[in-house]
């Protein structure tokens, strides 16, 4: 059952040190900024973060990194013009990086959510990112064996949720949210507002409520514009 929160700190309560945290968003689109800020206050450390990028500027994920809470990041694109926080930590040897092609990153989380033990993926064959990985030729094509990435927690940003926990997204802010929601033991979504159960079109629900444990209703959070 999904619980709706209006206090970001309550929404992230209980995240343990050493957790693997999946963080949605592609650049700033779909980034669960309020949840990340609350996670910083909450204090969990020694985290493994899975996210497409490695933080922008000095806020959100970058602030989590700057606070020294992240032991390892699994991502596809850590090198952005404003990723100076990650850059500094990486060059100082203070953070571990696992670089994964973007589609493989998404598919490995999908596999975790879908109960798939491993899958043969054509991406990256013959490249440094496949080095040391098991390969197999199937029907004349070479594939790399890839394993699921499961989260202890997922922090995602969605557009609207209902009281049961169903979610819809908006435009390209959808990105990793629906996949991460399936791949984590505990999924926490921030939404712009929460509607009554029955107000979302059942045909258009993107993340069914079964995948959502907690919702932070931004419209009810103090200080949210």
């Amino acid at each position: 059952m999904t619980t709706v929160f209006t206090d970001p700190d309550e929404a992230v309560a209980g995240i343990a040190d050493g957790s693997t945290v999946l963080i949605g968003g592609f650049g700033m689109a779909g980034m669960p900024v309020r949840l990340i800020d609350a996670l910083i206050r909450q204090g969990a450390t020694d985290l493994t973060v899975v996210s497409n990028n490695a933080g922008n500027g000095d806020t959100g994920l970058a602030a989590l990194l700057a606070a020294g809470r992240v032991r390892k990041i699994i991502c596809s694109f850590p090198r952005q013009s404003d990723s100076w926080v990650f850059d500094g930590l990486y060059r100082a040897g203070k953070i571990e990086l696992e670089l994964v092609p973007q589609g493989t990153l998404a598919e490995r989380m999908r596999a975790a959510g879908a109960g798939i033990g491993a899958f043969y993926c054509p991406t990256g064959v013959g490249t440094p990112l496949a080095e040391g990985k098991e390969t197999r030729v199937i029907d004349g094509r070479t594939y790399v064996l890839e394993y699921p990435i499961k989260g202890d927690v997922a922090l995602i940003g969605a557009h609207v949720g209902d009281r049961m926990g169903n979610l819809v997204y908006r435009k390209t802010a959808r990105n990793f949210g629906p996949v991460m929601a399936t791949a984590a033991a505990l999924t926490i979504a921030q939404v712009h507002h929460v509607v009554e159960t029955g107000a979302l079109d059942p045909e258009a629900v993107v993340t069914p409520c079964i995948y959502v444990d907690r919702i932070l209703d931004l419209s009810a959070v103090e200080g949210t514009s």
């Binding site: 059952m1 995240i15 343990a16 999908r110 959510g113 049961m164 029955g198 069914p208 409520c209 079964i210």
Partner: protein
């Protein structure tokens, strides 16, 4: 959070009827669970879930939030359950395609599924899809996906065949649906919990644990009894406690 329970022997009454059995299963489904009810007898469990239970029903053909069977004008050929019976939609429902629906099942997101069975073994192996009779056309549907996918698999069946052969067995003789997947077995004569410590009886109806033990080839013990092999108290967690928050 585990509570040691004692077995309740209902000796002053007969075996459970189909409706009573369904009510018993419904009682043990924790409020707010996501549940898939198999075709046939398990479907009737829905009729016994309290309206405020918050239980959300999944049907493997692509829906969460399934409502009761459709009647009259409600019948819509585009809205059926896994048994192809017209059903209804509840507020908060959602639709998804088959790959997503079975990803949900296989991925371990359903709290409970309730299935019928030909046989269940003492290790929780399930046989419910094929009699193995060479004259029978095999058909599996979603049975294997449900068996391995749900966090808990409850089975409903009569404990004996019409000719008195036990269906709770040391080893299934029918083709298997899944290995070590059944956690609870609800029958007309008794409720069994199946786990690493073996088979324990939590309730009997119109019979006693001792009588059951004499009619079955499977070692069954009352709940709360000492497991002579391991020297541990056999304990049962109340269903609701299984459903604690993740953290």
């Amino acid at each position: 959070m585990s509570t040691v329970m004692s077995t309740v022997e209902h000796l002053d009454r007969g075996p459970l009827g189909r409706d009573e059995l369904a009510a018993l299963v419904a009682r043990d489904i924790p409020p707010g669970s996501f549940v898939n009810l198999g075709i046939g007898l398990p479907t009737t469990v829905a009729d016994h879930l309290p309206p405020d239970s918050g239980v959300v029903l999944h049907t493997e053909n692509g829906m969460l939030g399934m409502g009761p069977a459709a009647r009259g004008d409600e019948i819509d050929p585009d809205l059926v359950n896994a048994g192809k019976i017209p059903v209804t939609e509840l507020p908060g429902a959602s639709y998804f395609h088959h790959a997503d629906s079975f990803a949900m099942m296989r991925g371990g997101h359903l709290d409970v599924c309730v299935l019928g069975a030909f046989q269940v073994s003492e290790r929780g192996d399930l046989a419910n899809w094929h009699t193995g009779d060479p004259g029978d056309i095999p058909a599996v549907g979603g049975a294997m996906d449900l068996a391995i996918g749900a966090k808990q698999v409850f089975v409903m069946m009569t404990l004996f065949t019409k000719d008195g052969t036990p269906k709770l067995v040391p080893e299934c003789t029918y083709p298997l649906t899944g290995l070590a997947c059944v956690s609870r077995l609800y029958t007309d004569l008794a409720v069994f919990h199946i786990g690493p410590e073996g088979v324990t009886v939590t309730e009997t109806y119109g019979t006693s644990v001792a009588e059951l033990a004499s009619r079955l080839e499977v070692a069954v013990r009352p709940a709360g009894s000492r497991d002579r092999t391991k020297g541990a108290i056999v304990s049962h967690v109340h269903p609701a406690a299984d459903h604690a928050d993740h953290l």
